[in-house]
Amino acid sequence: MNILVFAEQRENRLKKTAFEAVRAAYDLGAQLGASVSALVLGSGSASLAGELGAYGASSVIAVDTPDLARYSSTAFAKVIATVAAQKKTDVLILSASQMGKDLAPRVAVKLGGGLAADLIALTVRDGEIVGTRPVYAGRALLDVRVTTPVKVFTLRPNVFTASPVDGTASVETIAVSLEEADFACVATDVQVASGRPDVTEADIIVSGGRGMKGPENFALIEKLADVLGAGVGASRAVVDAGWRPHDEQVGQTGKTVSPTLYVACGISGAVQHLAGMSSSKYIVAVNKDKDAPIFQVADYGIVGDVFEVLPELTEQLKKALGK
């Protein structure tokens, strides 16, 4: 059995989610007696190959061409499907990042395979691969099985741990021929939003809701986020009110996040918000209302005024972290 992982890179740096996917594939491979190959695309990608061995890839395939310097879902999907077919891939794994979500359906169709998307667990039960995925914004979990011979999986970012294994990978460079028609859609530019990590990638998120009382008070959230190196999140109410950009919205019509630590400040915890963040490993809630639903999912809560608690918390963490 052959497992192939698409290892995403941007700006010639492998994404953390690429290591997560490779390591998850390694663990799956160990149960199935399969080895793991990783695929990197783009200009200069061959130089990244070595890093993937340390997370469980025994071979790395690089399609290292300037044609793939700019992201194109149509061209990337063709290359991934071509390599997957050439390597007789049975299981293809991608991260459910924006790029992975964009590519996986296309590659699945090209390979005649089914796609189980956005998994939070990937296990083997009676010799069969079973994926678990949140549905209804995390209000239920669904176990699924892909019935086609070729199986495609995408893994939710930040859920699978990217811990290294003791290994090295062989590196092979493959050329795939592309035509102009393969670039029907192509990324021409990227605009970076802010210096802070995006909520879908952040290890820690500090999030604010209506209890912050006004957009100007998000400075308190930002200060705490800066001390923690955290991303800034927001509830739907404050995004709809125009206090914060939509990129920051956490919840059912925003982003689904699974950070190690989620700090909810002045957020009551509407169902839609909980849906987007309840899979966080640790949840801290600061809210004036002791009956706010957010406290039901919180590991640690402070019932109190965010305008008193946040500056104090920021100060104390600054000291504790030696900043």
């Binding site: 359906p105 956005d118 209804y136 859609c185 021409t188 990227v190 109190g304 963490l317």
Partner: protein, 248 residues
Amino acid sequence: MRVVVCVNHVPDTEAKIKIGADGRTIERAGVNYMLNPYDEFALEEGLRLREKFTGDVIAISLGNDQNKETLRKALAMGADKAVLLKDDGTRDSYAVAFALAAEIKTLKPDILLFGKQSIDYDNAQVPTLVAEMLGLPSVAVVVKMEVLEGKAVCHREIEGGHEIVQTSLPAVILAQKGLNDPRYPSLKGIMAAKSKPIEEKPAQPAEIRVEALGMRKPPGKAGGKILCADKAAVAELVRLLHEEAKVV
């Protein structure tokens, strides 16, 4: 310009989810259904394109008779025509996309709009599956778009920023919140929708590639530690985060 918008009928965001008797789907009784919120952005964008370039907007939904409610809303917002691909059974994303693609092929749209995902199964794969099945380019999670001669320039959300993507047309566009502010159906629109046609036809059968084995509620959280606000509480929180959770 012909615009096709695919719309889905989903449980509303406040719905209490209970696992159904089959153990694989939710209990539908007592759950309110509505037009998938992301599809509203798609529909609005389609209507604006028609207003700018003239042409028509066709809304398609796959499902049972209840989906007519969502199609009526699409018509009330201003869609010219609606198509219901009827199927009472359960399909996976592949089977949904297969039937949609078969229908869309006959309609020859210049632009095909979807919401970026349905908030029921949250698969976010049907639109791109349809694009691939039809051999069309696609741009996902679009928050801004401009249609020019034979192409569109879209801003799509990626981790930590926006990616600007240029695509040839026809193309599949997946709408994200922020793309526009959807209009409310006017009284006139609601009245007009009653006389607009909903064409019904059976959805093309297709194989299932992802089988649901079992659905369950996520494990609940054990009771957290709730502290009352004072300086000592903040110090205690910092200690817990550092020593117990070991996250800072």
